[in-house]
Symmetry: C2
Subunit: 146 residues, 2 copies
DNA sequence: GTAATACCTAAACCTGACTTTAGGTCAAGG
DNA sequence: CCTTGACCTAAAGTCAGGTTTAGGTATTAC
């Protein structure tokens, strides 16, 4: 069992954030000893899941819903699974979009590299979009695909 | 040349957002005809870059800086390149984190699939962390790495 | 001529996710 | 005793990134 300060330390979060999460209902079964929060394995695992779901773009109120389902027992397995499936799909599409943005960044890095060497963008303008060298063609096309 | 409404339509954004971007200085050379904004190729390309940089986690005020550099001419190529390089590195690490979160989601999907079949989490608890089947072991380990 | 559109502005408002503030309890150390 | 440090609460404040509102102009459609 850990105090709020220890958990804050372990996860690299301010204690105020953990109090905020608690207030938002993200630790439904959190124990207290004479007023003081006692974090157990359940809460540590909850925090790991919270970090994951936040990275997956979920809002606090939806994460609370999940935590409530966990507290409710086996009858909510289907809802929990559905929520994760939905998030998984969402996240796969987010990662795909980010990879396209990344290709745009790669292209821009190459572009400015050339521009610096040339001293202007004049030659580059003649290359876009059909005369790009092989090395960067893929990134350019992926970045501009739709 | 396009009106704000046409651009809004093209990019699937509300016109209010385009006005907001303009107010934030994201279109430094934007023309007007008797008060009405006229978006040209420069602004359309700027918008594509804005969408990319936003996805890369950049704030409006930093995007403005980039747009100002573009308006300043060739002397700012090095700054622009450095900004893209920095964003590229940031984004690569973000994508890596998201892939770890995604592996957590994959694991949870599998987990609840099993829990639904079993009717409880009892058997699953005996499998974690050392007796997981090959199919899901990788995702579990990647999700819990650190 | 008047009504519907599409544009304009400044300024107020909204949302999510925290963070800060102000004030209070309690245990241990000097 | 009394100060220090770790905990507690409710409530107010902050920030980014928009969105909405209220009021105005200009063009086109009937």
């Amino acid at each position: 069992m850990y105090t709020i300060g220890q958990v804050a330390e372990m996860f690299g979060l301010p204690a105020s954030t953990l109090r905020y999460y608690d207030k938002q209902g993200l630790f439904p079964g959190l124990e207290r000893m004479s007023g003081i929060r006692r974090f157990g394995d359940t809460e540590l695992e909850a925090l790991r899941v919270i970090e994951c779901l936040k990275k997956a773009g979920m809002e606090i109120k939806d994460i609370r819903l999940f935590m409530e389902w966990c507290a409710e027992g086996p009858s909510t397995y289907p809802q929990r699974k559905a929520m994760f499936e939905e998030r998984k799909a969402h996240m796969e599409s987010e990662i795909a979009k980010m990879n396209r943005a990344l290709d745009m960044l790669k292209f821009k890095c190459w572009y400015y590299e050339q521009a610096i060497q040339d001293g202007s963008e004049d030659r580059l303008e003649t290359l876009i979009p059909d005369n790009l060298p092989e090395e960067i063609k893929g990134a350019y096309e992926n970045a501009h695909a739709r």
